[in-house]
Symmetry: C2
Subunit: 434 residues, 2 copies
């Protein structure tokens, strides 16, 4: 960008231009949403199949576009983990295409009658699923989100406006071209899946304000700072979670081998996902029998353990936990461990430090598990299972666009069903209200 | 209020005080919500029964408090309709007490398993209803909303913060005292139903900002200007509708007598409710046969008819409809009538002028009704029935806190079930994720 262009994009004129540009996207999305709302399942699935085919057929274009993004990122001295997220290769393109096909194979939620009943006056009432409308997806470096989010929104009959991270612009645009090819080959409007044609950050601000009422919901996909900005600025509903500060509480009596397997899996299977455990709470009654073996199992799995006094005493490799370690989303091979005085204290700790995402209890005490289920206010609660099951696929819901911790509408995994709304259809034979 | 006090309440100091006051309400509500979330149904119903008893026992107090509000309103020269909404009498108090008992008789939605399924790995997943948490209700002159909203929120296990209109302060506070008496007599925290102790408008602003994350949803109950303010300022989800611009479309072939009965009922049964019809659309194919009889029936029922050229020609008493009459919520004995060229034009008109609340089609053509149901994007659609059925009671959902036109979570009548959220309970036997 030349200095002249940079001045321009900072000017009011450019802001107005971006607002107008984005409003245009919103209006076209709204028109496309009207078409999608009455598009039969078979037509949507035909488009999805054609998208997958286009992703495979155009894989050379995708790789070339990705190379431009990778080179730019390398020039900027971007770190390795970021480059790995950004990178496309033939295997990842194939996985993306298969992901789109998997979404095609899901049941179409639109038109499903969720509930129906008759009234004494003969009215028959149905509550039926409808698309949500227009969804805005704001994401970061992973270009595959373009295909995942586009396909999932289409399956639920929604138009979508995608705003990829500026680092993955070329890759995302090349993927987007395949999606549009799929839509158009099935006779659906290309505007059903649009990509923001500018990398200016002001475009995101416009989306968060709802593009003149055309966007129904915003889904941020990315790190904490992105989600935080979206949650604080958005004037439309947001499906997201800010953090996954997941707890495991081991309550007496508990099978030690089961506890070890669950704790190590919950923390270490993948440390960077939102369902990874961040804090281990151990009942005082198990301090003698379970604390040391659990800590040792974690340490031997390569996990750094930060603990309270009792945990420090269990193994010399344990580091002291500072106050900030409880309630921290490490997203790494680090766990905070604390001995708590029973169920009440565990629930109190989770209430104080949790993020309402996912928590697990490991115990043979059914009553304690029931109490934990009733009183812990998180989207997902597990008994004797790993927190890493917090995932739409693992729930059997198929692909998900993310996990939400809000209390409205979508909570837990946000799959195709959560991307719908509903309306009432009432059939009468001339009824008037007395 | 003295000039000195008026200066004070306008000062920054007072604003800070109101913010702190309101935050305290939010925090106490959150604590109460934690108790209510695990309160058994029987205990909540016991509290509701005690509330009804207290309303009856304290009816003299309620009437005396109401007299103060009425006198103040009369001194301010308030209009008759407003005074009628504000007024309490023994019959209205009895109706309020019975309303609370009716809510007690509803099924408790909390704890209901909405869906459950097993995974191949043996995990058993349940989606179970939970309370939403803390609900803020902002209302205007009708003091009975205090009891209705308080009881409905309690039934669904939610804490509620009520902010009555300043004109009904004394009445609402007296009713609120009965609700607290009922709560406490059942051993529930009085903070489960709180009333804002100041009439300062700044308190509403604090609620709309969510009281430090303690309020989960805001429900405005009142006229357009209140709802508009709430929808534009709220930083938390809002369950509401701004307008009920309900349409009736009569499509050929249609039984004339049925159409007359439905149209007159939809417009004239009660003209001031949100489900009252505001615009009548008539298919060109029925212009010769149905237009004149429908217009005559409306005129004879005492309705002012504003019409297009064809409608004007049908009866000399018809007044010309100006552009603004279509899409206007008259909330009065006035209707706008227009002849439209078939289903497509009717849907286009509703799309352009409607408010996504409630629309009806009157026709014997099942395919046209199905098309209308599929394509009109409103919360409630009716075939051969009056729009005045847009009501939680008429839907068989029991009492409602209002009608929502949002696309998220609550849509259509907002009854006890819509005042809930859900969480997942997952039961395993040691499963870890591969």
């Amino acid at each position: 960008m030349t200095a002249e262009v940079k001045d321009f994009v900072r000017s009011d004129r450019a802001q107005d231009d971006i607002a107008a540009l984005m409003l245009g996207l919103g209006e076209r999305a709204r028109v496309a949403a009207g078409v999608l709302a009455v598009t039969p399942s078979a037509r949507k699935d035909e488009a999805l199949a054609a998208m997958a085919a286009a992703l495979r057929a155009r894989s050379d274009d995708l790789l070339a576009a990705n190379r431009r993004d990778m080179e730019a990122a390398e020039e900027n001295g971007t770190a390795g983990a970021f480059l790995d997220r950004l990178k496309l290769d033939p295997a990842r393109i194939e996985a993306m295409a298969r992901g789109v096909e998997d979404i095609a194979a899901l049941a179409d939620p639109v038109g499903t009658v969720i509930a129906e009943w008759d009234r004494p006056n003969g009215l028959h009432i149905e509550r039926v699923r409808t698309p949500l409308g227009v969804i805005g997806v704001v994401f970061e470096s992973r270009p595959n989100v373009t295909a995942d989010a586009g396909a999932l929104c289409l399956k639920a009959g929604n138009a979508v406006i995608l705003r990829p991270g500026s680092e993955s612009t070329h890759s995302s645009r090349a993927i987007h071209a395949c999606l549009v090819e799929g839509l158009e080959s099935a006779g659906l409007p290309g505007d059903a899946i649009q990509i923001v044609p500018t990398t200016e950050r002001a475009a995101v601000g416009e989306m968060l304000r709802g593009l003149g009422g055309t966007i129904d919901v915003i889904v941020p996909r990315g790190g904490r700072s992105l989600v935080e900005r979206v949650q604080s600025e958005a004037r439309v509903p947001v499906f997201a979670h800010l953090e996954g500060i997941c707890h495991i509480y081991v309550h007496a009596p508990a099978d030690l081998e089961m506890a070890k397997a669950i704790v190590v899996n919950a923390k270490m299977r993948r440390t960077g996902i939102c369902g990874a455990a961040e804090t281990l709470l151990i009942d005082t009654a198990l301090a003698d029998s379970h604390l040391k073996p659990l800590v040792t199992a974690l340490l031997e799995a390569g996990c750094e353990v930060r603990g309270d006094e009792a945990t420090l005493a269990a193994d010399s490799r344990v580091k002291p936990a500072f106050a900030g370690d409880y309630g921290k989303e490490f997203l790494d091979a680090v766990i905070a461990v604390k001995v708590v005085d029973g169920l009440e204290a565990a629930i109190g700790h989770i209430d104080a430090y949790g993020s309402h995402h996912t928590e697990a209890i490991v115990t043979d005490d059914e009553a304690a598990a029931a109490e934990f289920f009733a009183r812990v206010d998180s989207a997902i609660l597990l008994h004797n299972a790993s927190t890493q099951f917090a995932d739409g696929g693992e729930f059997g819901m198929g692909a998900e666009i993310g996990i939400a911790t809000g209390r409205m509408h979508a909570r837990g995994p946000v799959g195709v069903e959560q991307l719908t709304s509903f309306k009432y259809r009432v059939r009468g034979s001339g009824q008037t209200r007395p």
